[in-house]
């Protein structure tokens, strides 16, 4: 396996979605290639950074309206 092949397999590798032979070839490649190890780590960091991103806020008027709708629902 070369680096150009490995960089396309990173998501599959992180998902644990590949067959054992391919996974083994990735691990062997990683053990020998600092650049690809860094690439893999940066993919993980990118994914984590995206996950840590705070979302935009709902406008307060919409939030109030939804709380009002929840309050106003007839319940038995």
């Amino acid at each position: 396996m070369n680096c150009a092949e490995f960089v396309e397999l990173v998501t599959e590798f992180l998902d644990g979605a590949m067959g054992e032979p391919t996974e083994l070839r990735c691990l062997v490649h990683l053990a020998r290639c600092e650049g690809c190890e860094t690439y893999l780590d940066q993919f993980r960091q990118t994914s984590a950074a995206v996950g840590a991103l705070p979302g935009p806020n709902l406008p307060p008027a919409v939030r109030d309206q939804l709380l009002g709708a929840f309050r106003g629902l007839p319940r038995d």
Partner: protein, 223 residues
């Protein structure tokens, strides 16, 4: 990904919502609406439309909570309503995001071929010296505040819609690949291609930001 606050279990949440507990409703509303807005944006054309999709979703949740059967998690159920609502809106706005097959621009390498040794050369397909990724360190508070946060938020907004949808579901909302395939009616293989391309574009943006527009080519010193 877990939100900033720990939520009670689904069982407790659903019971309280059915009982009309306003505090619980405010809690889920505030915990999930941000991610929902970001997701809705990938289906519709404007921020206003995304806000309306999220609003409609919550109204459907309020009215439908008695019908929630608990086969999926509450969050998955809410997000499924959102995806359907936002998709329907997108169709009306002629901004459909069909997932059945890949577009030509979504296939092919995700890393610039120039960074690898050419076919026929010794070590073909391996990093060209000086083009290999250089290690970086992003302090966590730079992600939460600061420029990196802005950069990532912008980069997500700039992703092609289908890539943004999958990246948002997987990395923002924290769904597994099976759930995403089921929500979007997409094959596992195509889901992975879109996610991979989206993440690769975001990684490249971070790399350019951290090492300058030249990426790795500019400086040879190891960080």
């Amino acid at each position: 990904m877990a939100g900033p606050r720990e939520l009670p279990s689904d069982e407790v949440l659903v019971q309280r919502l059915r009982a009309g507990d306003e505090e619980t409703f405010a809690l889920v509303l505030d915990s999930w609406s941000g991610g929902m807005l970001r997701l809705a944006m990938s289906f519709v054309s404007t921020k206003d439309s995304a806000e309306e999709a999220v609003q409609d979703t919550w109204l459907a949740v309020i009215r439908g909570i008695d019908n929630f059967e608990g086969r999926a998690s509450l969050k998955t159920w809410v997000y499924r309503i959102l995806v359907n609502t936002a998709k329907a809106r997108g169709t009306k706005e002629s901004r459909t995001v069909p997932f059945a097959s890949l577009l030509p621009e979504e296939e092919g390498p995700t890393v610039d071929a120039e960074r690898f040794r050419a076919p026929g050369e010794q070590y073909a397909g391996h990093w060209v010296a000086g083009q290999e990724p250089r290690p970086w360190h992003i302090p966590e508070d730079h992600v939460l505040r600061g420029e990196v946060r802005e950069l990532i938020a912008e980069a997500i907004d700039e992703l092609p819609p289908r890539l943004r949808t999958v990246v948002t579901l997987r990395d923002v909302a924290g769904y597994g690949s099976e759930e995403v395939c089921s929500l979007l009616e997409i094959s596992p293989g195509n889901q992975r291609v879109l996610l991979h391309r989206g993440r690769a574009l975001l990684r490249r943006k971070l790399e350019s930001y951290l090492f300058g527009a030249q990426g790795v080519a500019g400086g040879r010193g190891r960080a």
